[in-house]
Amino acid sequence: MNGPIRHVAAALFIGMAALVVGVSWLQVIQAPEYRDDPRNARVVTAQAGRERGTIITSDGVVVATSEADPGDPQVFRRLYPEGGEYAHVVGYSTALFGNTGLEASRSSVLVSDRDSTISGVLNAVLGGDLRPRGLRLTLNHELQTAARDALAGQKGAVVALDPATGAVLVMVSNPTFDPNTLVGIDAAPVGDALVDDPDEPLLNRAAQATYNPGSTFKVITAGAALETGIAGPGTQFDDVVELELPGSTATIRNFSRGPCTDGGQVSLTTAFARSCNTIFGALGLELGAPPLVARAEAFGFNTEPATDFPAAESVIPDADTFENALAAVAQTAIGERDVRATPLQMATVAAAVANNGEVMEPYVVAEVFTADAAIESRAEPTLLARAISPATAEAIAEMMERVVTSGTGSRAAVSGVRIAGKTGTAQVPGGAPHSWFIGYGPVDPEPGQSQIAIAVVVESGGSVGEDATGGAVAAPIAQAVFARFFGRTG
């Protein structure tokens, strides 16, 4: 009888040994992976109540800070003095919903090292600086507020960049939410209401939402045409009323439903300034998909943005998907169909034109500073790609300036400053169109003078409704930001 008993005993001991192996695997080898998993609520709990560093704008306005509990100086509460204005970039740090935005991506810098872990205690004993560090953003409070006020009451987003560095000067998304309401442990109903809100206030429309770029995409189409040499600014086109698309019953028509100018010949520059769909559709057909897609990708399409805050990838279908769909090429060339871009991406396009064709990587954190306000690290501008040659950039700049001086973007004009721009009106099936404006200024900076590039999108016609166009709805918002930047009132 003892033989089988020994076998059963051996089987159970093998089982116990397997448990030891399993536990070793989990708690020793795999432990860091599970411990730091963002879905592991302990990550958040471990930091709850600890002091977090201050976040300020480039002009010194505090947008996030920690306040000691009056009853217990060891427990801190996060405060967002500017409410919802920076909520989408800065994010929130809460006990209930975890961390988002910079509060998540820069958490290790922002959180105090003062804790009960062995390393925390050792650090304290050895006299290390346990105080949290702070962040200085590239965002400018004056410009941010100007953009917020101009967009007020409409769904949409405004992004402004410094073309030379990629520093994000403005990032506004409307509607927004007040992160202060999510901080408390009783915030569950508020959070649920935000998640369920059909207007999606938690969504950062400036970087996470993609839209058809509409006619603002013509900057890229023009860039592709100039780079390949199939057209120049003065190249003449037939001003047709309707462009028939090969292999399709669909047609492309101008916004006016008639000819773009007088029905005769029209130059590329004029077609750009008047945003002639028929001519840019024809240009797209002439170009073909590969150069168009390659140019869009050079500007940053089809690449996951490597930003500190959540940002979506802007997309254009692969060139080979257009092989038997020439109609789609024409529609893509005017920013319709399957091409989709974030406002951040389109601001990057405008910035690249301003920066002689060079695409700088967007960033929002300018500096990390210590509790003693000493600078610990500073962001280094990064060149991502050369989207177009300096000559092409100069030619497109001229065309874009014509948009503002005598084209569809006149309402973005600022007196005494040369502004370049491009409007867009992206059709939404069954609804009012999305209005776009992208642009920059000044076109010819003095040595040492800084520029600003901008993208504005207003969803579903904004305050105008069905008749909305980029020129009527989005351009004035850009103008408000330009005016504040250049110190003019309008």
Binding site: M1, N2, G3, P4, I5, R6, H7, V8, A9, L12, F13, G15, M16, A18, L19, V20, G22, V23, S24, L26, Q27, V28, Q30, A31, P32, E33, Y34, R35, D37, R39, N40, A41, R42, T45, S116
Partner: protein
């Protein structure tokens, strides 16, 4: 002399439980309070009582069984106390009652030993069946079944005093009764069952030899279908097959049993979505993180966060793990006491298994051998099953961790089980 060693080990376990409670208190900012003293007294009273019963009625019993049980109970109790003080207060009562039952069993068996149980085997069998069926009683009856987390394995009685409800899990008691029955039955029949018929070189079991396996599979499958209790189902099946193998040394039983497990498991997977969900959560815990995978994912997070030395008692977040005080208590211990605590617990069970099988090997007759081996198999396999589930070695089957999980029925059954093992070891070799 050995009884003195046992006494000091049991006292150490009581100190361990009291220290655990004190640490939890300090972590929670409560400080030293009556809970520490009450816990110490309850452990001393319970295990001290069992110890005195052993001195009186089984003085040469193995002195390591109850200290190991007390050590596991102390660690489990500390974690239950850390999770929910109300549950801990109830668990203390359960410990007193379980210890009283264990002592009472030692008293009943004081003269004849476990041999006295042999003649009641069919009463035990019938009782076990009734107990297994009890959870199916309609909810309108005074004694009624209740469903918790989708498994119907609870029985409740509304007490006439106050608005209290007494609930217990009859399956825990049934496993001990079934083990006694099987040991007794097989002690009489094992010779007849261990000679298979041969067709050429292949050994083919007689139909009457297969009969017990059919019964085993039927009972296990009934438990699985009607109570939706995967853990108890597997435990009972392993008990039947294991005992059959021990009694007959017939590999046939292992092979047939293995085939039944594979085929039955496949059929169960196809038929029952609760089985499918368990398997899905096991294979891809993070695919459906918010729903089916949540519990196992939380368990992995807890164990990973615990790492080598743990977060410290009262300093982790085991409250995030669903069923942390019951089935998933191992994950809670692993989080707060770390890899060190996990290994200590597994070692505790390994020692208990070693002691149990040692008793079986040295037992003086066949019934005692079978009973000791069966009881050890039950407790060892149950510990393995749930720890393997919690650590994602196997799908979660949902069964208590002996001595550590919160739950009176489980504690009672396992204390009685260890008392039986102790009684078998009394007078070894004489």
């Amino acid at each position: 002399m050995t009884r003195n060693a046992e006494a000091s080990l049991l006292a150490s376990a009581a100190v361990l439980a009291a220290l655990g409670v004190a640490l939890v208190n300090f972590a929670g900012g409560v400080g030293f309070d009556a809970q520490v003293a009450v816990t110490f007294m309850v452990f001393i009273f319970s295990f001290g009582g069992v110890h005195l019963a052993l001195r009186a009625w089984a003085p040469t019993a193995n002195p390591y069984l109850f200290p190991i049980a007390a050590f596991l109970a102390a660690i489990g109790f500390t974690e239950v106390y850390r999770l929910d003080r109300d549950l801990a207060a109830l668990q203390r009562w359960s410990l007193v009652i379980a210890a009283a039952f264990a002592s009472f069993v030692l008293f009943l068996l004081r003269d004849e030993g476990v041999a006295a149980l042999r003649r009641y085997r069919y009463i035990f069998l019938a009782t076990a069946f009734i107990l297994l069926l009890l959870p199916l009683l309609p909810t309108t009856w005074p004694i009624y079944g209740a469903e918790v987390f989708g498994s119907r394995l609870w029985v409740r009685i509304d007490l006439p005093v106050g608005a209290r409800t007494l609930s217990f899990q009859p399956g825990e008691i049934a496993k001990v009764l079934l083990t006694v029955f099987l040991a007794s039955y097989l002690a009489d029949r094992h010779l007849a069952m261990s000679t298979p018929r041969r067709i050429g070189p292949i050994a083919v079991p007689e139909p009457r030899q297969l009969f017990p396996i059919v019964i085993a599979a039927a009972v296990s499958f009934m438990v699985l279908i009607y109570q939706r209790d995967l853990g108890a189902s597997l435990l009972l099946f392993a008990l039947f097959i294991g005992m059959m193998y021990i009694a007959t040394a017939g590999v046939t039983y292992l092979v047939t049993g293995g085939i039944v497990v594979v085929v039955g498991g496949y059929v169960a997977y196809q038929l029952f979505d609760h089985v499918q969900r368990r398997v899905e959560a096991w294979l891809h815990p993070f695919d459906d993180f918010a729903d089916t995978g949540y519990q196992i994912a939380q368990s992995l997070f807890a164990l990973g966060s615990g790492s080598l030395t743990g977060s410290g008692l009262g300093l982790g977040r085991p409250d995030l793990i669903p069923a942390a005080a019951t089935d998933f208590v191992f994950a809670a211990v692993g989080e707060e006491m770390g890899f060190a605590g996990s290994i200590a617990v597994i070692t505790g069970y390994a020692l208990l298994i070693a002691a149990g099988f040692g008793i079986a090997l040295r037992a003086r007759d066949i019934f005692r051998k079978f009973l000791a081996a069966g009881l050890t198999l039950v407790i060892g396999f149950q510990a393995f099953l749930i720890v393997a589930g919690v650590t994602r070695l196997l799908p979660v089957t949902g069964i208590t961790l002996p001595f550590m999980s919160y739950g009176g029925s489980s504690l009672l059954a396992n204390m009685v089980l260890v008392a039986l093992l102790a009684r078998i070891s009394h007078g070894e070799g004489t």
